[in-house]
Symmetry: D2
């Protein structure tokens, strides 16, 4: 690759936008050349725009700090400045829906961290190790929408990523899972910034996250669905129930998972072997952000733990533990992932790498 792909970030000043900038520093394929945000930030250098609210524990990359931030709604301004945009804009739902479509129509490859297009039937909601084939809908998306070279893909909600890859490893091996009980213990950063007040969460947990249980019960079905014509049809064979909790953890969503099988049931040892050996297209293609081993199993009785395991393999692995039987369903385990990396900016970057590798960005 003689020249890097030029990348824009929409919503560059927010928490997710900052994570994009942090993770794209020194990326071998992508180079941040364009930053856009709300009109309030437009016209300032990025360094000025985030002064006093840069939330990352690294310094702002020097070349990025000097880029002048543009108004995200001025799409013409992005022309010629980048081919790929990561969208993390913070707007009303309808405004996001329209904005992302317009960028795609204007020829940009759009990979979005936002939720509005997750249920648009021809927009793939991608967890690269699982439903990489959903990207095959891109030619159909372009054709039906009259886009020449633009495209739109989104990532799923972060919370389901603590267990969907381990679940998929079993499905891929031929087991049919029809029931899932999920209880999540989710990190503060998942709520965006500022998120919960410290007064409300120190020495506390909050057993509720607005809208999260509904997403957790529904999004896995699309991820596990199939392309039919020019749309992705969700799986209909699985019933999921989710309790979602906020806990005083900075990064890293943990999930307690029970699964029930329809038909043959794997043993604990079979699942451990499946997880250990699980590799998928991102690993085969050796994508820059792909974890070497997508599912890391911790043998210790008290793992995984967010503080200790979230950063494994560039914070892109799913870490599991405590696989054992269940009195009511068949198997239980604990899953963990880094919600702002694997579950947000890092996952979107991996998706963009996959889109590039499949030849949809030139």
């Amino acid at each position: 690759m003689s020249q890097k792909i030029q990348v824009g970030i929409l919503g560059a000043t927010g928490m997710v936008g900052q994570n994009f900038i942090r993770l794209l520093a020194n990326h071998p394929w992508f180079e941040v050349t364009y930053l856009a945000a709300s009109p309030k930030s437009a016209g300032q250098t990025y360094g000025e725009a985030v002064s006093g609210r840069w939330h990352m524990n690294t310094l702002i990359p020097e070349n990025v700090g000097n880029i002048v931030v543009q108004d995200a709604s001025n799409i013409a301004g992005a022309k010629g400045k980048c081919q790929l945009v990561f969208s993390a804009v913070e707007m009303e739902k309808d405004a996001i829906t329209a904005l992302e479509l317009t960028y795609a129509a204007e020829g940009f490859a759009v990979v979005s961290n936002n939720s509005p297009h997750r249920w648009t039937p021809d927009v793939p909601m991608v967890i690269p190790e699982i439903n990489h084939r959903h990207l095959d809908i891109i030619p159909l998306q372009r054709k039906s929408r009259g886009w020449s070279k633009g495209l739109l893909a989104v990532k799923s909600n972060c919370s389901i990523q603590s267990y969907m890859t381990p679940i998929y490893a079993m499905i891929k091996a031929g087991y049919k899972i029809d029931k899932m009980f999920i209880t999540t213990l989710q990190a503060l950063s998942g709520a965006g910034y500022p998120g919960p007040s410290a007064y409300d969460i120190v020495d506390n947990i909050v057993p509720y996250i607005g809208g999260e249980e509904e997403k957790s019960e529904k999004e896995p079905l699309k991820v596990l669905g199939n392309i039919d014509g020019n749309q992705i049809v969700p799986d209909s064979s699985m019933k999921i129930t989710a309790h979602c909790n906020r806990v005083p953890v900075i990064n890293g969503h943990t999930a307690c998972v029970s699964v029930g099988f329809d038909g043959k049931k794997p043993s604990v040892d079979e699942v451990l072997a499946l997880w250990k050996n699980f590799r998928s297209v991102p690993q085969e293609l050796n994508l820059p952000s792909a974890p070497v081993q997508p599912i890391i199993y911790r043998e210790e009785a008290n793992r995984p733990q967010p503080q200790k395991d979230r950063d494994l393999d560039k914070a892109m692995a799913v870490v599991t533990g405590r696989l054992r039987g269940c009195n009511l369903l068949d198997l239980r385990f604990v899953g963990l992932h880094h919600n702002t990396v694997r579950g947000a900016a890092g996952g979107a970057i991996l998706t963009a790498e996959l889109i590039k590798a499949k030849g949809y960005i030139d």
Copy 2:
């Protein structure tokens, strides 16, 4: 009651023992007159023995601070000094088993916070609002063991108390629950002192508590069991599966609960009414430590929360919230209780009050 019952505390210097002392200050029926602990503490005044390790956020009651601590294994020394002992000794399981039986044989009413006798068939494991009738086994216990006036009762593990009273309110109303999915988020104080290292739990959760899931899946069955001859036979109709997590909360265990009914199912409104109106024998007898309303339901979407709700009604109420349907079973809710008060020392004191009110201590 012209004169207070004299009370001894075995294991007075530990965390639970300290809670007994804190909660019994100014108790209308009971007066702490005897303190026992390990030989290491024996011979010192209580104030000396706990110097630098008094973990309560109150001062040591003055009269208690001057009591000279005795060796808990010297049962003769307790004779004439107290009629009732609360046991919170920290010893090997077998030593506890023997010690508590000997105290009872020597004529003391023993109410234990320890686990060894929980599955002794003629020892009631009491949550006063639920299985107060299990105390009817005391005459049989005395007879078969040849005890004149001693007795032995224990409390259940703390973690199940976040939901067992709400569950029982439904059972009492005639609903049959045959499945329960439980995920707990348990407080640090439940691990005793020192418990988890701060290094391991700040910015973290630990998805494992040794032995806790087994207790959570089994103890409810005895609490819901029936006296048959001179033993308590556990219920056998309910299947429970539990995931237990440790979270950085000082006090207050939270549980995410899903329940499935065998036969007729109550509506959400019916359960809310059952909970609101639930009263039991401790309330009817107006026991000093009984919560006025044993089950408090919070209407807010994001409650109950340990930091904000654990102290309601003298920290003796069970606080519930988020009652709603469940995709896999029938109903879901969140339950909470204060684990060192309702779930430990306070619950044991309430049990002792009930034993007294039933005439078993004179």
Copy 3:
């Protein structure tokens, strides 16, 4: 006292207002009869107005929950409903300045938790155990301002209350302190609600609180000042330097203090005796909210600690520890107080009790 004084709370829906309501439940002298807040809350019952944002760990007192909230700027509406108002309004500084003066002019006794009038020369800034005599300015205040029975008193910033009573105990005994080095570790609740984001303070401290160091260096001088004519003239003999930090503690401000004396210096033992025996007018008058012992010294090497000591004596005591020499000045110690009780609502209530006891409210 045959009838309770009727009390209004301005800013009743905020964090401090809620603390007033919590602390005034069952007060022997005062009865909450009037609640006012911003126009947004006006017209709703208090229970409706704070639904989902009642931050106390008690239930809303039933009689208060049904009071219809009024617009705080409608002073006429308060007439006849209360004699005394506690002000905790959240407004622009100028608006507070004017509002509190108007209430006083209209005949209300105003005790304010806000800062704008702290440096108004004829307004006493009261820490009852220290400068109770500053209330003697009330007749002069009334006379010069033409108020018949209204009055205005304020409390100091919370942070200085961790050490000013212990400092005053030395001054009262005749020692002259001319230098103070202060470093505070302040609780989250001191920042109001929502205050710091959890994302910014879990696994963190913030070495800055806007405006706090300036207040900490200046307010002690007025508290230690003298009435001269119709104004309070600050002390000018003491130099103070303060570093203020925010820490992940819910309630309780801690301060590390070094003091230097001009002239004779007390020994550690002398100061310990002074603190132990310190009593002041609130104790002599046996005011309902007065701590029995205003300064509690903890002998343990590692105390005071906010989590363990903030609630001592109704959370109204100042708790000290670690009194020892200092390489640069003369003595060092650690001080602690509960910032939302002693340092805010509780301190204001104690001030109002003192004003009542001195005969300025009828």
Copy 4:
């Protein structure tokens, strides 16, 4: 450098030992070839020895996991296995004193993280950017002790490293500091493992760390001292007073510092320039673990903060902020460093790199 220096770690299983192993993975000069610990761990592979108590958030380097742990007191066993040892043994003080001397006498270069030899007159206590010249004592140390090629150097206590480099930058520029007021807010990891109980530090701070204030007041004097004959004579011109606090932060010690000058005083701008341009021998020699810029100044009013700034420049920089005047002394600022990297294992590795670069290890 054709071949790496073989390195042993004494106390390899403890918290500091684990940090050495984590930081030495892929080190360009050093290769871990020898691990020693207590007899309890001896004979197991390192992976077995730390199973369930590996506290790092990385996996154990594969080559290290298979090394068989030796008994640290068996010095003969280390012969030929390594030239350089890092000592982080957890033993009684006298045992450490003797053990480290024996390793040095046996020809090993010993760089110790322990405290016993900090005040041994001919043992340099090194902060590489400050007192690199103290390594010139090594030939004298060897001569007087009769060591052929062994040597012994130690690092200072971690807490002083949050400010000593910024202080030294001023001294190096010719300013004379004679007074320092320090208040530290120290991280949990500084207490070793397990360190404080979570029960004692969640929602809390502890205003005391045993022995830490004494070290903080004394160790800077040796670091700033001079070689005189074959000993290092401490500076005697500076008076320091320190308050040390433990806070619920995983890593990163913060210090609030006030300094007073004897003679000419630099302006804030002068100090900012001094800090920005400060470079020392580790930078000039381009040592592998040296931070590029040893002192990073944050312009934001509320920085540095441990959670956000501790990891800057490989966690080896000292981060400062809030430089301003002081009412009592001359200047105030806040300093921060990563206590287990810069302040412990990383600092010791940098010291060893300096020793190597100066030609004392072959």
